[in-house]
Symmetry: C3
Subunit: 141 residues, 3 copies
């Protein structure tokens, strides 16, 4: 469910950074109660001449687009809390980068229009969801 | 209107698979009453080191992101029905792939913030929409 | 906040076109009262065999996906107005292209689930937002 599309300029992440960041993102959602395999992270390198911020080509930039499906925040305070939580995940990868534009936003979409391996995932907090967490795999329910 | 962004690992689809799947998706929407040219399908190959599921790089994976604009499902039952319908479209391309993670979700966005070839498409079920279906082309209305 | 993902077939834009279009998009949002650096434009070239319209591979096509975060249109009339406004931005780049399919849609997402350089941007019309516009930069508020 959370899908992170991480658009970045060349050299922003090493291969090791990518593995680390993907694991770190996954750890955070797991602590929030989600099965690890719900978390999908896509890295997408964009050359400077294809990325513009404020109308200017950008040599060091990070633009993250996140889709949240299984969990929706009910109010502004909770949404802002999630934004700060995402910031804390990304922060270690931003150090020492000057003149950096980094930005993210989250879209929330319907859990009814979603499938993993051919199954509509079980409701939040259900026994079936807990089993999916424990097995870290899809199973019939 | 339906926009299918199909993110996949290398070798997941042959060129012929891509043509077949794009035609198959389009056929399904046409049977639901939409002009064929409403259906746009983008294939996006992602190397294993840029795609993580559950924090692990993924060598065989499929993540489909679909935007529905012209048609919105009014209730949970109908949304689940659409999810099963999408599953049936994808199913033939998943056979024989072991340890596969495949997942899709659909976002529904406003038909008022949408244009094809400079026109806001006609309302669902209107005579103008039927003409667009019959001609498989945009025309003034 | 506005994020424009511009998917296009090879040769659709020259490098100069890209710079011009990105600046033109940014100018339009600036005139609507937004800081220039809110505007992010990503160009994404897609080869014909990876882009299908109506089930057919497409050699000249443009599919733009726009996310609006900081500003939402309150009614249908206003949303249609925005669609026409976006059309006017793209129009100069479409001249002389025969058999062209071009299409865009806009998604509107929550301003509470959004950060630039680690800050939740200030409310629409606030003094802080005006300062961000004047300085064309993020500052604490």
């Amino acid at each position: 469910m959370p899908l992170w599309a991480i658009h970045h300029t060349p050299g922003f992440f090493t291969d090791e950074d990518k593995r680390d960041l993907a694991a770190r993102i996954t750890d955070h959602y797991e602590r929030a109660g989600l099965p690890r395999f719900y978390v999908v992270v896509i890295f997408d390198e964009i050359r400077s001449e294809n990325l513009y911020v404020g109308g200017e080509p950008t040599s060091v930039g990070l633009r993250v687009v996140i889709d949240h499906i299984a969990r929706h925040a009910p109010d502004k305070q909770r949404r802002n809390g999630i934004a700060h939580w995402i910031k804390s995940i990304l922060q270690p990868y931003l150090e020492g980068k000057d003149n950096l534009h980094w930005e993210f936003h989250v879209d929330e979409t319907s859990e009814d229009l979603w499938m993993i391996n051919g199954l509509i995932p079980p409701p939040m907090g259900s026994d079936a969801e807990k089993r999916w967490v424990a097995q870290n795999a899809v199973s019939a329910y």
